[in-house]
Every structure is written in structure tokens, then in C-alpha cells.
């Protein structure tokens, strides 16, 4: 009997197999089924982490998915919603697989911290779609109930905080947040129906596919009728502006466009923006008959400011230590889900748990991603269908994505000492929204990359290349020039936001593999992840 073999076998069982190939690695690619990306068996992470994953993540979240549904409206509206809407039926059930993809290979505190972020996102998603279903006239034979008259609809890029002043009586739900945005992460199959639908009536294939899908949902009659009026905005790009042309036609409800200046550094712009926000508030007052409540606004803003302060603490740990217990995908998604919707109880609950984990990591100097070879900053907008590429990149190559561009928007507290200050800050806040803070208002914003790269102590850039984003395509060459001039190690990651058909996940991996082996001359940590077929995966 080879005692070393037995010892290794025991260690592999007790602690989980080591990461890298040299150490007789875990070969995560081998546990994946061909094409579907399902697991032959889920990963064995050692006794402690496997049990944590099984009990505290898998069982806990399945159970809480049911509890949340009961809590926010009950099984009946949920079942009706599942039967009526593709985006929820196809997306809600594989949620645990979304966890699997986002948490693959993680151990210890990183596993725990990242999983709590996912829990927060699931709860917030359930809150939103249950609010939709409870109010949905489509599920009530066309009848409009109390909640239909007490729910406000808005574009997903319009920050939820705008509705705080009415939050004691009214709910707000972004129209596309769950039907489009969340589905892309959880089950990227559904969104393709909406893209195809809108192209079938003559829209060319080249506008931003996010906007295409957001219009397609309306065309396919897959939007719950849950509100009497709605608000739109002009976040980010030409296509998002234009989408509201189609949405207005197909939804046919009173609409207020809360437009924001593009040149947001311009001191004159803020004043204008403030008036636009007041215009939106006036519209809500008219539609609801309920006056604006400044105290309530401040109360909710103060709660939201707490979330922002903790986010800064997280960034500080991420930037200056190797103890940050959240992986790149959990960081990115949680930040955008949280900041876009605004204050919700679950965010505070999750932040409290994560704070404990993070403080433990810092106190004990736990290296949460011990196989980090490069600290990476990811810039521009990420592929929604493969947001977990960062998990793969760490497992395969030791590329640890520390921060990404969209996490850095909304980077401020909002003052609540007096109305003018509050309004002024809300204006800035809204102008600093995702895909806006860096992408519009002058080219200098997008080149803040260099500062953030230094600030977060990164040595490599993952440059997202959203093929249909005109704003980012329009700076492609300058980035190439600057990377060369500054001798920055950077790889491009082409994708088409939600549409996995344009650039497949395998192509994304291939690009990174080529870069790492030919430019960086490095060997993979886990060679089993170099090439595998997950073309049919969620």
C-alpha cells in the first residue's frame, strides 16, 4: 500500500483537490457534461466546503426561493406568472445552476462571501417579479387590482431611488430588469426569442442587442400589465433612447421621459437635470394623486448611503489586500442589481453577513484567491450570457478580476441635509449611471481606466469588446494605441451582451487562452478548462 497515495486520497477528500495541475489538480473541466454545461457531478470541495455548499447554499437557497415567493405574493400568482411568461418560467428554475457557474472552484471565505451576494440578488429578483405578478392585469383576466394602481413601472436603467418619496404607498418595478437583464445571467436561452422577434419586424441586427431584447419583450406580449403609467430615461446610448419609441407604441400608457444631459461634467447640465427630476416627481404626483414626501426620500437615501459606504469598504479591501472574499462576477452583479434598484432590506442583510466574512479575512489575513497570478480590471460592459467568465479565468489561468467598470458608477453618497443638496446629488447620481458614467460625456471618462487600474493595484486589463456598442467601438483604436504606448497587458473580450450566438463562450475562452499562452507565455493552472463545449448551457 502506498501511504502517500492514501494520504493524498484522504487530503483530497477532506480538503478537496488542489487547484493547479502541478499539485495533482482538481480538473474542473472533467466534471462538466459535454455541450450542456451540466455537471456529471457537482464539485467536491472537501468536506467542509462541500457541506457548506450543499447545506448553506443549495438547500438554503432552494428553501428561501419558496419562502420568498410565499412572502411576496404566494404560489398562485407565481404559478400563473410561470405559465404566462417565458422569461420567468425558463429562468427561475435553473437559479441554482447560476450559483454553480458563479461559484465554481471557490473555497472557504470566498465561497461564503460570494454566495451571499447571489442570495441577495435572488431575493431582490423575486421581490420584483412577484410585485409584477401580484399587480398584473394579464393574470387577472384584465382586471386591475389595488396593486396595479399602486405600482410604478420604469425603464431598468432608471434608478429606483427616484420613487423613494412614494415608497410607503407605492411599489416600483423596472420593466426590463427581470424579464431581460436577470434572465441573461441565469438562463441566456430566453432572451434570444425577444431579439429574434424584434428583428422579424424589420429592426436591423446591428443595434445594441440589449435594447433589441427590451423592445422584443413588448412585441412578444411578454410584459406584465402591472402599472398605469411609466417613466423612461436616456441612459447610455442611442439605442436605449430609441427603444422607448417601440415600447411606447406597444405598451400605450402615459409616459414621462426623464432625460438626462449627456455632457454631465458641464456645470450648466446639473441644473437642467435637477429640473428634469422634479418634472418626473411632478408627473408621479399627478398620476398617483399622492404628494412628494421629502422625509421618506431622505430616510431611504440614508439607508442607501449605508450600502454605498460598505461598498467603499469592500473596494478598499479589494484594492489593497489579497483578503477580499468576493469573486469578480459576484462583485459585479451584486453591485449593479443593488445600486440600480436602490434600497432593499435584503441588501442590508447580505452586507451584514459579508462584513463579518470580510472582517474575518482581513483580521486573519486569509488569502481568498491564493492562485492569483494577475490582478485584472475589467473595463467596458460585460457579456451577460457569460458574466461568469471571470470564474473560469481564475480557475484556468489565475486571472483574478478585482473590479469592473460598471461597479464604479453611482460612486457617491447623497446628501440629505436640505432639499437643494439632495436634488443636486440625485442629479449627479443619475447622470453617473451604468454605461454612462464612463461611456458618455467626453472621452476622458472612459480613459479613467488607468487611474482605476492603479487604484485597485491591477496589472492586467480585460477589455470588453461589445460588438454592437457604438460608443465603445468608437474608442477601439485609441485603446489599442494606449495599451501599446503604456505597455499594459490587456486582452480583448468580444461579445454581444445577451446574445450568445454572436460570440460563443468557447470563442471568448479561446481568445483568452491564446493571449495567456502566446503573449504571456504562461501555462494554465487547470488544463482541463482550456477547451470544452458548453454551447448549449444556460
Amino acid at each position: 500500500m502506498d501511504i502517500n497515495k492514501i494520504k493524498k486520497g484522504f487530503n483530497d477528500f477532506w480538503y478537496g483537490k488542489p487547484h493547479s495541475a502541478e499539485e495533482g489538480g482538481r480538473r474542473l473541466g472533467d466534471i462538466l457534461e459535454d455541450k450542456t454545461g451540466l455537471y456529471k457531478h457537482r464539485e467536491w470541495r472537501g468536506v467542509k466546503d462541500t457541506m457548506y455548499y450543499f447545506w448553506n447554499i443549495w438547500c438554503y437557497n432552494y428553501l428561501h426561493m419558496v419562502i420568498d415567493i410565499m412572502k411576496y405574493g404566494g404560489l398562485v400568482p407565481f404559478a400563473k406568472g410561470v405559465w404566462r411568461y417565458r422569461w420567468v418560467g425558463q429562468t427561475y428554475l435553473p437559479v441554482m445552476h447560476w450559483f454553480d457557474r458563479g461559484l465554481q472552484g471557490l473555497r472557504g471565505e470566498a465561497l461564503k462571501g460570494s454566495a451571499w451576494h447571489y442570495r441577495g440578488m435572488v431575493n431582490a429578483s423575486i421581490v420584483q417579479f412577484m410585485y409584477m405578478f401580484v399587480a398584473d392585469a394579464n393574470l387577472n383576466k384584465g382586471k386591475k387590482n389595488y396593486w396595479h394602481d399602486h405600482t410604478i413601472a420604469h425603464n431598468e436603467t432608471l434608478w429606483g431611488g427616484i420613487f423613494y418619496p412614494w415608497s410607503d404607498q407605492y411599489r416600483n418595478v423596472a420593466i426590463e430588469m427581470i424579464p431581460y437583464f436577470v434572465t441573461c445571467h441565469v438562463n441566456s436561452h430566453t432572451v434570444l426569442n425577444y431579439i429574434d422577434a424584434i428583428q422579424s419586424i424589420g429592426l436591423p441586427g446591428d443595434p445594441c442587442p440589449m435594447c433589441q431584447a427590451e423592445a422584443g419583450i413588448f412585441l412578444l406580449d411578454d410584459v406584465p400589465d402591472y402599472a398605469n403609467f411609466w417613466l423612461s430615461d436616456n441612459e447610455a446610448c442611442d439605442a436605449s433612447v430609441s427603444t422607448s419609441i417601440i415600447q411606447d407604441w406597444l405598451w400605450d400608457k402615459p409616459l414621462y421621459a426623464m432625460t438626462q444631459p449627456m455632457r454631465f461634467d458641464d456645470p450648466i447640465a446639473k441644473k437642467y437635470c435637477m429640473k428634469e427630476i422634479e418634472g418626473a416627481w411632478k408627473f408621479i404626483e399627478e398620476q398617483t394623486g399622492v404628494p412628494f414626501n421629502y422625509e421618506l426620500l431622505c430616510k431611504r437615501l440614508n439607508q442607501q448611503n449605508e450600502l454605498m459606504r460598505f461598498e467603499w469598504e469592500k473596494w478598499d479591501v479589494a484594492a489593497n489586500t489579497s483578503c477580499y472574499p468576493i469573486n469578480g462576477v459576484a462583485q459585479a452583479l451584486y453591485r449593479i442589481y443593488q445600486s440600480q434598484y436602490g434600497d432593499l432590506p435584503i441588501w442590508h442583510e447580505v452586507d451584514a453577513k459579508v462584513r463579518k466574512i470580510m472582517e474575518k479575512c482581513v483580521a486573519k489575513k486569509i488569502n481568498t484567491f491564493p492562485k492569483t497570478r494577475h490582478r485584472v480590471i475589467a473595463w467596458s460592459c460585460a457579456p451577460l450570457y457569460y458574466s461568469n467568465w471571470v470564474v473560469w479565468a481564475y480557475n484556468c489561468w489565475g486571472l483574478n478580476v478585482i473590479i469592473n467598470m460598471d461597479s464604479l458608477m453611482f460612486d457617491m453618497e447623497i446628501r440629505t441635509d436640505e432639499y437643494e443638496h439632495t436634488l443636486e446629488d440625485i442629479a449627479t447620481y443619475h447622470m453617473w449611471a451604468p454605461m454612462r458614467r464612463m461611456a458618455v460625456g467626453g472621452m476622458h471618462h472612459i480613459f479613467e481606466l488607468w487611474d482605476y487600474k492603479e487604484r485597485f493595484n491591477c496589472d492586467m486589463v480585460a477589455m470588453y469588446d461589445q460588438l454592437q456598442c457604438k460608443g465603445m467601438q468608437g474608442v477601439h483604436g485609441l485603446f489599442e494605441d494606449e495599451f501599446r504606448k503604456r505597455d499594459i497587458k490587456a486582452f480583448w473580450l468580444p461579445h454581444a451582451l445577451p446574445d450568445s450566438r454572436t460570440v460563443s463562450r468557447a470563442e471568448i475562452r479561446r481568445g483568452i487562452n491564446d493571449f495567456m499562452s502566446t503573449v504571456m507565455q504562461e501555462e494554465p493552472l487547470d488544463p482541463s478548462l482550456l477547451d470544452f463545449d458548453d454551447s448549449m448551457t444556460w
Binding site: 457537482r42 410561470v82 417565458r86 418560467g89 441554482m96 454553480d100 412585441l219 406580449d221 407604441w249 400605450d252
Partner: protein
Amino acid sequence: MKKVCKFFLKLVGILVLVFGVLFAIFFFDLDGKLLFNFVEPFLKKHYDNMEREDKTKMPYDISKYPARD
């Protein structure tokens, strides 16, 4: 005492069994396989065959909504 022990043993047995079944589902990704191979295709078929309103027939009343400041 014997009865309590028996009940306790039974309870432990049931819990172990439930744990075993759940763990098997978890470990072998049976939930994922069920959803991918059966539930999603079934739901897809349902959604594909659903009767949907032709939204392009939606009227487009030019003067329905007032100008707002």
C-alpha cells in the same frame, strides 16, 4: 425510555435518508438534469405554442397623450 430512543432513532433514520436523497440530488446535479432535459423543453414548447396578441396591431393614437413640461 425505549420508546423515546426508538422515536429518536427513527427520526435520525428519516433525517439521514432525507439528507442522503437530497445530497445525491445535489451531488449528481439531478436538479439541473431534470430541469435541462425535461422541464425546460416542456415549458419551451408551451411558450412557443402559446397564443399571443399581435402587438403590431396596437393603435398609435397621435394625440392621445399631452405634452408635458
